[in-house]
Symmetry: C2
Subunit: 331 residues, 2 copies
Amino acid sequence: MSKIKIAQFGLGPIGLETLKLAATKPWVDIVGGIDIDPAKIGRPLSEITGDPGIRNAWVFRSLDDLLVRVKPDVIFHTTVSQVSAAYPQLEPMLRRGINVVSSCEELLFPQLREPDLAVKLDKAGKDGGARLVGTGVNPGFVMDVLPICLTGVCRQLTAVHLQRVVNATTRRGSLQKKIGSGLTPAEFEARFQAGHAGHAGLRESAALLAHCLGWKLDELLETGKAMVARRAIRTRFVEVRKGQCCGLHQTVVGKVDGQTRLTLDLKMYLDAPNPHDACQLESDPPLNLVINGGVAGDAATVAALVNVVPRLLRAAPGLLLMTDLAVPSYA
Amino acid sequence: MSKIKIAQFGLGPIGLETLKLAATKPWVDIVGGIDIDPAKIGRPLSEITGDPGIRNAWVFRSLDDLLVRVKPDVIFHTTVSQVSAAYPQLEPMLRRGINVVSSCEELLFPQLREPDLAVKLDKAGKDGGARLVGTGVNPGFVMDVLPICLTGVCRQLTAVHLQRVVNATTRRGSLQKKIGSGLTPAEFEARFQAGHAGHAGLRESAALLAHCLGWKLDELLETGKAMVARRAIRTRFVEVRKGQCCGLHQTVVGKVDGQTRLTLDLKMYLDAPNPHDACQLESDPPLNLVINGGVAGDAATVAALVNVVPRLLRAAPGLLLMTDLAVPSYA
């Protein structure tokens, strides 16, 4: 069985971890990376990842430059959260017949905010014979795919309620900043309103749930508030004084005919006690699921990206949703 | 969109509940039933189910008799636990191009005990252009599909440990008997050894897990012991004296290269406190999932059978595993 040739587009923290995990798989052959950082271009991936096992693979400044040397079967795309920003990066890959697994949060359900681009991506994939899916842990698993999977044993289903509590102290610095650590609560909330802070993809999770359950949402309301530090907090990356923002509390509520059918409640903050993921279904049978300790973000996101590859390659070309693919599994 | 024509093969308790649930779906048209019970043959399904909404559908003595009147798109098959017993019922359906969803426990992973029949069923489905899948709640969800789904966010995976505790007092009479209620512990264990008592499908769950995870098991050991009543127990269906068997404790251990990688621990007994389903993955990230109260057996099994239909019809013909199909969801 020939190996799957994989390249990495975007060599930030998630991209590097994805590459290192993929390199451990016997079915993967890492063939190159793409990044715009002049400090990385032209260097061997073994050096940039610190993994001497990644041989004969270099960093290129563009897809075109990579393609001169090798055509990958799959590209891991880990650069941006918005479909509008990802589109010009993704479209050429699909047209050239390269399958893409992306961490772009809005790609979990691009039909929500960018229905026209979703149609174009689907067409590019079908024309080129390539598949595209957006995944990760959140969005991509704990607040969408996992609860959807649970509804498969429901005889009746009225509502889905989800909670996720993440202890941001255990996460990377960029996330600690993204959640507003060290801002005043008012500053954070203004940034959230402007779309410059907060967790990307929560509305997409709700929209994917509604899509799978056949619910036509007439409202999809999102709110974002600061979690306020009750005492000074210091991590490896940030310092927060008492009264400052130490994280976010973001919610999405989905209604059908004025009735609340979906609630997604996400808290990501420093020193959060009892991190967990939970799901209650108002259903027959009633279901109450808890993942004690939660699903750790970065490790799980990287795993989701790599594990989806074999199932993606078995699907028909085009733009795919995680729920179009076979049941997730370790690969 | 035309409705999916559905018939029910086997009009026992699970079959009747499946039929009643299917009849509530706007995408389903119930077209008939098949049963060998002379007291049911020739009667309208509305009468047998007590659901006056099931119109123009009668009980036939055989598939051939049903086919004289109507050809269903899908048959729900709820008669037996063994693939060897199910085969002569299923094969003609597949050859005639009728898709089948079966509660036959061994069909979750028929390759384990009946690899030759699995090949034949796959061929019959491909020849006839029909799909076959075995599903339910256990096997079919809590001790296989759900934990497999969870492994999709694992970067490393060493072992999967599953527990299910069912309070059999809340279940139907046939199940209370199947688990040995009222026998002496020695009688139960002798019956278990002889294959006449116990839960069908636990080894199939383990085999499906191993298949999805790419683990070649060199051992798959099953044990079955009696749960002993500490006091007299009386349910609607059975009476158990102190010291008698009030249920079963069944385990399966799967090893790879002598190392334990899979443990499945199932307790189904009368008056069991704290019923639940649980899963611990020895993995990165480590994962610890609990479904408080567990997933109620009969309601969830019936739901799994009905909900799988739309996804099954989108798959390619042949014998399919639940993990070949798209992520389960409420339909």
